[in-house]
């Protein structure tokens, strides 16, 4: 599948400038500067504890940054609840542990936000939900409960749920790390398809094949900093920083 890169000079939809965050005394994000253009597909990798999850969780304010400025879709993230909720309506997120609502059926998981946040009538919300379920090829499971599905199916439902609010940006926080090996591909296929449709994506993942195939830019983080970023081909073929080289040699060795 060929993926066209976004046109140059498109305005930034996510903009970190000098963003810092601490967990108590631990300096988890250090002077992060990062700008993501509309339609750009970004993969963030790095060793565990490097701050990559924290970084993308700041984008929809699941984590608060303490200093610096972070703008998403032109809205600056601060304590303003209205601003946060307006950003969250435009940003979908997929989690490592799926985080589906176990007490609701698959269909209800998908219609909840469109009905309560988007104020859609039920019939319309269900129509949209079924459309998204077909998109992730799981429409026949609509009336089951999440825990009756396999991990791969649950993650695809989670993707469909995030898409139901027609977000402009999708965040993926290690979406395949909790999956059995034989289920990773069914989730990656859905993500590749999504990438081909022009939505802005920021993915924290160690699936380097996926990164090479879809990423416009790969970012390597270590110790709370962005160490290196480059186009996928350049990043994998000619890593510049020794930390990057070391990391890649470890995860690509086998």
């Amino acid at each position: 599948m060929s993926i066209t890169p976004p046109a140059p000079n498109t305005p930034a939809v996510i903009e970190f400038s000098k963003v810092n965050k601490w967990f108590a005394d631990f300096h988890v994000l250090r002077d992060i500067d990062l700008s993501v253009a509309r339609g750009e597909r970004i993969v963030i990798c790095g060793p565990s504890g490097s701050g990559k999850s924290t970084l993308i969780r700041c984008i929809n304010r699941l984590e608060e940054h303490q200093t610096g400025c972070l703008k998403v879709e032109g809205v600056e993230l601060s304590d303003d609840v209205q601003a946060i909720e307006s950003v969250r309506r435009q940003v979908g997120m997929v989690f490592q542990q799926f985080n589906l609502f176990p007490h609701l059926t698959v269909l209800d998981n998908l219609t909840l936000a469109p009905m309560w946040v988007g104020k859609l009538p039920k019939a319309q919300a269900e129509e949209r939900a079924m459309q998204q379920l077909r998109r992730v090829r799981i429409a026949e499971q609509a009336h089951k409960y999440p825990l009756q599905l396999s991990g791969g199916q649950q993650q695809r439902v989670a993707i469909a749920r995030a898409l139901c609010l027609t977000p402009k940006i999708m965040l993926f926080d290690e979406p395949t790390s909790a999956l059995d090996p034989e289920m990773i591909n069914e989730v990656l296929e859905v993500m590749v398809e999504l990438a081909s449709q022009g939505i802005t994506m920021v993915c924290v993942t160690h699936e380097m094949g996926f990164a090479r195939q879809v990423a416009d830019r790969v970012i390597f983080m270590d110790e709370g900093q962005i160490v290196e970023q480059n186009t996928a081909a350049a990043f994998f073929d000619h890593p510049q920083n020794e930390r990057t080289q070391d990391f890649l040699s470890k995860i690509l060795a086998h």
């Binding site: 936000a113 946040v117 409960y145």
Partner: protein
């Protein structure tokens, strides 16, 4: 030696256990030495205890309200006549005798709504209005002074209707209050959190009797001069606050058991605070603590008997009134058994309902 082709082994039935009465008895009662000895011990106890008990409770018992017959059977047979004679006094307390159809209907309405409220399909906002309606009708019927009904002061309300009113008000009102307290205790806002913590810890930290006394004496001080609050209302407020404090801690347990990811997913979808609580958090948190909630309800139901200390005659209080009659005072055990049976039936119903509800609510939340 691995064959290149996969050869499936057909699925077989599990071995079936031996059928019939004797294998069943052996499996359940004589499974090993210790179990067999225990079975024999229990059988021996039954042989010793059961015949005299049945003789007393049934064979030699006096059922009619015949005081002389009761006295004759004393020590040999039970005098259920005390229930026949004093039953209405125990059930309705000092409520005027010829007006007792009013508490009967009022109680029946209350019980009916309690039963209906147990069904999941009626759990919607309209249910709250049904409760407001039934409480209003209950009050109107009992209190009278309208539509040609004679006025009956709340001080004369008593027995089962009073017990039902006290427990249903303190459960129905305490439940939403407890949810707010539990959420408040988890709130990000320091003022609300502190207020909830102080309330919960204070009310939970003193005996119900103290709360009842305090409400009885402190509440009038807070009212404008001359305004008088009915003793029943004061007791209702006291019991409700007390139950709410306990229940809030139970519910907090459920809130804390919820995985953090549920909140994060709800946040990431842009849901607001109250939407998250209503649609995601409470439905999951409450079902986790159904047994503990019902446990608190059962405790609160039995605690209503403490209102006798502020001179309200609930079921147990009315029994004491009934036993004030010197002719029947001797047969207090039978009277106590009668009242105990009423409490037991109500508590058993709550307990069984809790078990049913647990299974019923678990749809989908457990891996099948």
């Amino acid at each position: 030696m691995h064959p290149a082709v996969f050869i499936p082994i057909a699925a077989r039935q599990p071995p079936s256990p031996a059928l019939g009465a004797w294998p069943w008895i052996r499996r359940h009662f004589f499974d090993g030495l210790a179990n067999s000895l225990l079975t024999l011990l229990v059988l021996a106890l039954l042989v010793v205890a059961l015949p005299p008990l049945l003789n007393w409770a049934l064979v030699h018992a006096v059922v009619q309200a015949d005081n002389a017959a009761c006295r004759a059977a004393e020590g040999v047979g039970a005098c259920w006549g005390v229930v026949a004679e004093k039953g209405r006094l125990i059930l309705f307390g000092r409520y005027p005798y010829e007006e007792q159809w009013r508490p009967l209907i009022a109680s029946a309405l209350l019980v009916l709504l309690l039963i209906v409220s147990c069904l999941r399909r009626v759990w919607r906002p309209a249910l709250a209005w049904a409760w407001v309606g039934v409480f209003t009708v209950f009050y109107g019927l009992m209190k009278g002074d309208l539509a040609g009904l004679t006025a009956v002061d709340t001080e004369r309300w008593g027995g089962l209707p009073l017990t039902l009113l006290l427990s249903s008000v303190s459960l129905v009102v305490a439940f939403p209050l407890a949810i707010l307290l539990a959420l408040g205790r988890q709130s990000q806002l320091p003022a609300i959190r502190t207020l909830c913590v102080i309330f919960i810890e204070f009310v939970r930290g003193v005996p119900l009797i103290s709360v009842l006394f305090m409400v009885s004496f402190i509440l009038p001080l807070l009212m404008p001069q001359g305004a008088k609050i009915d003793v029943l209302v004061r007791v209702l407020i006291g019991m409700t606050l007390f139950t709410a404090a306990y229940l809030a801690e139970v519910i907090r347990g459920g809130l804390q058991a919820l995985p953090k990811g549920q909140m994060e997913a709800a946040h990431s979808l842009g849901l607001g605070y109250w939407q998250i609580q209503r649609k995601i958090v409470l439905p999951q948190a409450l079902r986790l603590v159904v047994p503990a909630i019902v446990n608190t309800f059962i405790g609160a139901f039995k605690d209503t008997s403490l209102v006798t200390i502020v001179s309200l005659y609930d079921l147990t209080g009315a029994l004491q009134l009934a036993l004030g009659d010197a002719d029947w005072r001797k047969f207090f055990i039978e009277g106590q058994l009668f009242v105990a049976a009423i409490y037991f039936i109500a508590c058993l119903a709550m307990s069984r309902y809790s078990q049913w509800l647990e299974g019923h609510l678990n749809t989908g939340t457990r891996r099948q």
